[in-house]
Amino acid sequence: MFEWLQNVDWPSMWLSTGQTLYMTAISGVFTFFLGVALGLLLYLTAKGGLYENQIIYRFIASFVNVFRSIPFIILIILLIPLTVIIIGTMIGASAALPSIIIGAAPFYARLVEIGLREVDKGVIEAAQAMGATKWHIVWKVLLPEALPSLSSGMTVTLIALIGNTAMAGVVGAGGLGTIAYNEGFQANNNTITFIATVIILVIVFIIQYVGDHITRRVDKR
């Protein structure tokens, strides 16, 4: 009944899964911090923000917009020189990280900015009335109050990011995208393509489930 599964080279399938998880985890962590930082900067320097500054806002906003609009497959190629400088090579799972992060962080930054905007202005005013510094307001009001949005935004971003790790297979990043394309599509072994897809789906479902769970836990509204 399961003879068709014998067409699959399981050790290399698990290796690819590991590479996908590695790329997702590392780029997820960087995307989170970079996205929160950029999102905060966007929120704080925007009109009416605590550190209103048109020049910085416009600069970050255009950076975010540009990198959010470039199709990922083109972004990878554009960033090859940068990747070589940072990672030292343009092949392998680590080499895919810069472009994955630079592709996902601006997207997450916008979600962070939207989440921060949803924080009740009255609460910020109350903190100011109590004599809070801007630093206090960021750490004790804005980020904790926006946590449910940061969490649900991160879930969406991680899932988009997995899609990008698969695409990064084109530049020899390894992972499930590479195995599905090289071993599956090009060697005409549909079973491998199928199994790689199933594994990606399982990863996506787990992330969605865990993300929803965390969002519910931190949402006290």
């Binding site: 009740d120 609460v123 100011q128 009335a129 004599g131 510094t133 004790k140 904790p144 931190v218 006290k220």
Partner: protein
């Protein structure tokens, strides 16, 4: 655009000072200027001998810690429990953890929220949320408490309990309270002095008694009028009836036109002193009763009641003259 102009107020230590006005009168701007959440274009704000308008940003933050503020929509942090919300202002000062916890427990007792320490704001009623707001505002032992429409989002019963709490705090701590409102009942219930704000100007101010027993400005008369039920009916409380002198009767009629006619005749009766106290509603809100107090000779009162009944007005004697 000028939101406020020529506003000059001197608020005494330990008093409850009310500022009343319609929305758009500039009340919110005025109360926000007291702690400089709104910066005035000119003029000074002095609290306890310190001119806030001359302070730099750091000094102003320090000073704000001794000015408590509560809000119409409570402005609590959703992500924090009751105790953590009250802890917020204490975290801004360098208070030791143990002292902080003691202070939180004390504040929770003071506002009557025992047992709710670890509840989140979303699990509380409006009145409870405002109690958290009050505890938070009092945490750093402020000199002044600013109340920005603090009861406007609450139902009348809860409003009453919050006003009672504020009044108690004013008495026990000797805390100066400045409040803004559009509700006469709030002014009547807890204020010592009142200022009436209209179009960004103070049009009348003085003790609550003097301003409202003899209102000079049309707007003040409107607020007083509203309170006695001329335009917006207010519900009569049992305590009001008990404390009213004379006979209290409750009137209702099927036909409004006849009723108005009879009522105005009663009010015009020169043998009697007649006062409309307000409206009361029956169990089904359809039946509306006008509550009237009558003072005069018992013979004249009986006659007047008989006349009303003959005109088709239902008369119930709520309280006999004693």
């Amino acid at each position: 655009m000028r939101a406020l102009s020529d506003v000059s107020l001197a608020i005494q230590e330990g008093e409850v000072f009310g500022i009343i006005g319609y929305s758009g009168a500039g009340k919110s701007t005025l109360i926000r200027m007291i702690n400089l959440l709104e910066k005035p274009t000119s003029g000074t704000i002095t609290i306890d001998g310190r001119s806030l308008t001359d302070l730099d940003e750091r000094q102003l933050r320090e000073e704000r810690r001794s000015i408590g503020m509560i809000f119409q929509h409570f402005n609590l942090l959703w992500s924090r429990t009751v105790a953590e919300n009250i802890a917020f202002p204490l975290e801004l000062t360098k208070l030791k953890k143990k002292q902080r916890e003691d202070r939180i427990a004390e504040l929770i007792r003071m506002v009557g929220l025992e047992g709710k320490e670890s509840a989140y704001p979303s699990q509380l009623s409006g009145g409870q949320k405002q109690r958290v707001g009050i505890a938070r505002a009092l945490a750093n032992n402020p000199k002044v408490l600013l109340c920005d429409e603090a009861t406007s989002a609450l139902d009348p019963k809860t409003t009453d309990s919050i006003l009672t709490l504020l009044s108690e705090i004013n008495k026990t701590l000797g805390l100066t309270i400045i409040l803004i409102t559009h509700e006469m009942t709030v002014i009547r219930k807890i204020c010592d002095r009142v200022a009436v704000l209209d179009g960004g100007k103070i049009v009348e101010q003085g003790t609550v008694e003097s301003v409202f027993s003899n209102p000079q400005q049309t707007i003040t008369q409107e607020f007083v009028g509203n309170h006695t039920g001329k335009s917006t009916p207010i519900q009569i409380k049992v305590s009001d009836v008990i404390h009213t002198e004379g006979t209290v009767i409750s009137l209702s009629a099927a036909d409004q036109a006849t009723f108005q006619h009879s009522l105005s005749r009663l009010l015009g009766n020169t043998n009697l002193s007649v006062k409309v106290l307000g409206l009361a509603y029956g169990a089904n809100t359809q039946s509306e009763h006008t509550i009237v107090s009558i003072q005069g000779a018992s013979e004249s009162i009986r006659k007047a009641i008989n006349v009303l009944r003959s005109e088709g007005v239902r008369v119930e004697v709520t309280k006999e003259n004693v």
